[in-house]
C-alpha cells in the first residue's frame, strides 16, 4: 500500500510539472514567437523586421530556433501551438497547407503582397516569402584566379577545372537542376525533372563530390580549397568574401530559391502574426535593412532599390543577379516528389 501511495504521489507531481512546462511556453497575451533557422541570419531578421514591428505594435517578440517540421506538426496535432511565425521551405509549406496544418493567409495579407509586388510564384495559400537567395557557383579565388566555371556545364567539367565539387546533401538543394542544366536541358524544360538523366550526369563526377550539410561547411570547403567549387547559398559566400576569405560567387545560371513564413494552425495570436505580415509587406525599408544585415535578398522587389548600391550586385531578386538566373526552383514539384526523390537520392549516395 505504501509503495502504491508513493508512486501515485510521484506520478502526480511529474504530471503537474509536465503540464506546467507545456502550458508555460505560449505565454502572455500580446506576444508572437518567431521561429527561424537560427544563427546570425535569425539575429539579423529579428533586428531588422521583427523587433521594430514589436515596438511599434506593443507586441513582445519571443524567439525559438531552429525550425523543425516534426515539432511544428506535433504542436498542431496536440493542439498546443507555441510557434507563431515559422520560417519554412516552400515545399513543406505547400504540403502542410494542403494537410490543413497551417493558417490560411487572410485577404488583407494577400492584398498587401500584391501591392508590394511579391512574385505570385513565391506565394501559396498559407505562406508568404520572407527572403530570397540563389544557388550560385562559389569558387576559390586562389585556385581559380584567371578562369573559373561560369555555368553548370563548366562546373561539371572536372577536366577543365580539376578539384572537388561541393553539393548540399539535400534533394531541394539545386543539385538536380544544376545537373540537368549541365547536361544541356533548357531552363524552361527542367520541370518535371528527368531524374534518370540527372543521376546519370551526377554519376560522371560522383567521385569528386563532397557533401555539405550546413552553410558554415560550404564556406569552409571553398575557403580552405578542399572543394574549390561549391554550389552555394550566395549570401554565405558574399559574407565570407567580405570577411576576407578567398571566395567569390559566379551568378551564371543561378537558381533562385526562397524561404517562406507560415503560421501553424491554431496559433492563439494568429491575428497578431498576420498584422506583422502586413507590416512587413508595407515596409520595404525594413527588408532592405535586413538585406544589408543578413546577405539575403528581400521578398518584395521594391526593397532592392533601397539597398545601398555597392551590395546590390549580390542581392537575389535584384537585376544583376536575376538577369543571369536560369530558373526559380519549382517547389510545387518538390512538394509532390520530395519523399520519393529523397529515398532514391539516399540510395544513390550510399552506393
Amino acid at each position: 500500500m505504501r509503495t502504491k501511495a508513493i508512486s501515485l504521489v510521484s506520478t502526480a507531481t511529474l504530471a503537474l510539472t509536465l503540464t506546467a512546462c507545456g502550458g508555460g511556453g505560449g505565454g502572455d497575451d500580446k506576444s508572437v514567437t518567431v521561429t527561424m533557422w537560427g544563427g546570425q541570419a535569425q539575429e539579423a531578421h529579428v533586428a531588422s523586421y521583427f523587433n521594430p514591428w514589436g515596438e511599434e505594435a506593443g507586441v513582445k517578440i519571443l524567439q525559438d530556433s531552429p525550425t523543425d517540421y516534426a515539432k511544428l506538426d506535433a504542436q498542431v496535432d496536440s493542439g498546443k501551438v507555441n510557434w507563431g511565425l515559422v520560417e519554412v521551405e516552400p515545399n513543406y509549406a505547400e504540403t502542410a497547407c494542403a494537410e490543413g496544418k497551417l493558417e490560411k493567409l487572410p485577404e488583407r495579407v494577400v492584398t498587401a503582397a500584391q501591392e508590394a509586388e511579391v512574385d505570385p510564384a513565391q506565394m501559396n495559400d498559407c505562406a508568404l516569402p520572407i527572403l530570397q537567395y540563389t544557388f550560385s557557383i562559389a569558387y576559390n579565388t586562389d585556385t581559380f584566379g584567371d578562369a573559373h566555371p561560369t555555368n553548370w556545364e563548366e562546373f561539371f567539367d572536372t577536366e577543365k577545372f580539376p578539384g572537388k565539387r561541393g553539393f548540399w546533401k539535400y534533394v531541394t538543394g539545386g543539385i538536380f537542376e544544376a545537373a540537368l542544366l549541365a547536361d544541356g536541358v533548357a531552363p524552361e524544360d527542367l520541370y518535371p525533372l528527368d531524374l534518370d538523366r540527372a543521376f546519370a550526369k551526377l554519376d560522371t563526377i560522383k567521385d569528386d563530390i563532397v557533401w555539405y550539410d550546413t552553410g558554415d561547411q560550404q564556406v569552409q570547403l571553398v575557403a580552405s580549397g578542399e572543394a574549390p567549387l561549391v554550389q552555394a547559398w550566395n549570401g554565405r559566400i558574399t559574407q565570407a568574401a567580405k570577411a576576407g576569405e578567398p571566395v567569390a560567387n559566379e551568378y551564371g545560371e543561378n537558381l533562385i530559391s526562397y524561404d517562406q513564413v507560415v503560421i501553424p494552425k491554431g496559433y492563439k495570436n494568429a491575428d497578431l502574426a498576420q498584422d506583422w505580415m502586413v507590416w512587413f509587406l508595407e515596409n520595404p525599408q525594413a527588408q532592405a535593412d535586413d538585406v544589408e544585415a543578413s546577405g539575403y535578398g528581400p521578398a518584395s522587389p521594391k526593397a532592392v532599390e533601397l539597398v545601398p548600391e555597392d551590395i546590390r550586385p549580390d542581392v537575389a531578386g535584384g537585376a544583376d543577379v536575376n538577369d543571369q538566373t536560369a530558373t526559380l526552383i519549382d517547389y510545387s514539384y518538390w512538394a509532390e516528389n520530395y519523399a520519393d526523390v529523397t529515398e532514391r537520392f539516399n540510395t544513390w549516395i550510399a552506393k
Binding site: 505504501r2 509503495t3 508513493i6 508512486s7 510521484s10 506520478t11 511529474l14 523543425d68 517540421y69 516534426a70 506538426d73 546533401k169 539535400y170 563532397v210 557533401w211 550539410d213 580552405s224 580549397g225 578542399e226 520530395y338 519523399a339 529523397t342 529515398e343 539516399n346 540510395t347 549516395i349 550510399a350
Partner: protein, 304 residues
C-alpha cells in the same frame, strides 16, 4: 529489474540470505525501508522511458497504416540493411580499437606512481568533460584534406597527396574511439586496481615467467572490466549520431543518422520508430548471444 539489482548490490555482502517468507513479491523486491528510495527513480523511468518506448513500438506498427509495412520496407530496401550492417560493423571496429588502446593504458595507470596516475587519469577525463560537438568540430579541422595533419605531413614531405581521413570510415573510427575511450579505460582500470598484485607475485614465486604470470593470472582477473568496457563501448557506439554525421561520408551512414533524417526531414515517424525498434531488438539479440558465452551479470555487477 533495476530495483532488484541495485538493492542486491548494496547487500552484496550476504547475497540471498532471506528468501521465501509471507509475501513473496515483497521479499523478492525487498521493498521495505531503504528500498523505497528507489521508487521515485522507478516512476521516473516509467514515465520518461518505458512509456515513450511503448508508444514508439506502437507507432512502428500503426503509422501511417496498421501492419508490418514499415518493417517490410526496411527489409525490402538493400540500402537500409546496408546501413544497419554498417552500424554494427562500425561499432565493432570501434570497440576493438578502443579496447586495444584502453587495456594497456589502464594497465599503465595501475602500475604508474600516484602523480603520473593522476596525469593519465586527467588525460582521459578532460576530453570526457568537453562537449562532443566541440571535439568533433576540432577533429574536422584536424582530419580534413587541407587540415592540420595532412598539411604537416605534406610539408614534411611524408606524403605527396593528402590522405583522405574525413568522410571515410577511418575518420569515423578515429572520432568515435576518441569519444568512447573513457568508457573503456575507467571500468578496466577499476577492475585492475582491485586485483591483488600478490597473486602475480605468487605465480612468479611458483616458477612462472613474468609474462606468463601476466597472461595466466592478471589478464583473466581483469576480464570483468574488459567485458564491462566492451559492452559500454559497443552499445554506445551503435547509437552514435553526431560523430559519424560530421566525420563520415555518405557511405558511412549509421542508423542514428537515418532515424534523424526520417524524423526531421521526411517526417516518417512510423518508419523511424521501426528502425529504432530494429536496432533495439538486434542489440538485445547480440547481448543474449554474448550472454551465452560469458556471465554478463557477474562481469558487470560483481568484482569477485
Amino acid at each position: 529489474m533495476s530495483l532488484t539489482r541495485s538493492v542486491t548490490l548494496e547487500k552484496s555482502g550476504r547475497p540471498g540470505t532471506r528468501s521465501g517468507g509471507p509475501s513473496r513479491l515483497r521479499s523478492k523486491l525487498r521493498l521495505d525501508g531503504w528500498g523505497l528510495l528507489a521508487v521515485p527513480l522507478l516512476v521516473f523511468l516509467l514515465v520518461i522511458f518505458v512509456g515513450p518506448l511503448c508508444l514508439l513500438i506502437a507507432k512502428s506498427f500503426t503509422d501511417p497504416t496498421v501492419g508490418f509495412e514499415n518493417y517490410q520496407k526496411i527489409f525490402a530496401e538493400p540500402l537500409y540493411l546496408k546501413i544497419l550492417r554498417n552500424t554494427f560493423v562500425t561499432a565493432l571496429v570501434v570497440t576493438v580499437v578502443t579496447l586495444l588502446l584502453a587495456y594497456p593504458y589502464a594497465y599503465l595507470m595501475t602500475i604508474a606512481k600516484p602523480f603520473w596516475r593522476t596525469i593519465l587519469l586527467l588525460l582521459v577525463l578532460v576530453p570526457f568533460w568537453t562537449s562532443v560537438l566541440v571535439r568533433t568540430f576540432a577533429l574536422v579541422l584536424l582530419l580534413r584534406d587541407t587540415g592540420v595533419l595532412n598539411t604537416i605531413a605534406q610539408d614534411a614531405g611524408l606524403i605527396s597527396e593528402p590522405i583522405a581521413m574525413l568522410r571515410t570510415l577511418r575518420g569515423v573510427v578515429f572520432g568515435m574511439v576518441q569519444v568512447a575511450l573513457p568508457f573503456a579505460v575507467l571500468p578496466i582500470y577499476a577492475t585492475m586496481r582491485g586485483i591483488d598484485t600478490r597473486l602475480t607475485q605468487a605465480a612468479q614465486g611458483l616458477g612462472d615467467r613474468p609474462s606468463g604470470a601476466f597472461w595466466r593470472v592478471f589478464v583473466p582477473l581483469s576480464m570483468p572490466g574488459v567485458a564491462a568496457g566492451m559492452l559500454l563501448t559497443f552499445i554506445q557506439a551503435l547509437g552514435y549520431y553526431i560523430t559519424p554525421a560530421m566525420l563520415g561520408g555518405p557511405k558511412n551512414t549509421m542508423i542514428g543518422e537515418l532515424i534523424v533524417q526520417q524524423v526531421s526531414t521526411v517526417l516518417q515517424f512510423g518508419f523511424a520508430a521501426a528502425l529504432a525498434v530494429i536496432l533495439l531488438v538486434t542489440t538485445f539479440v547480440l547481448l543474449a548471444i554474448a550472454g551465452r558465452f560469458m556471465n554478463l551479470e557477474r562481469m558487470l555487477m560483481g568484482r569477485s
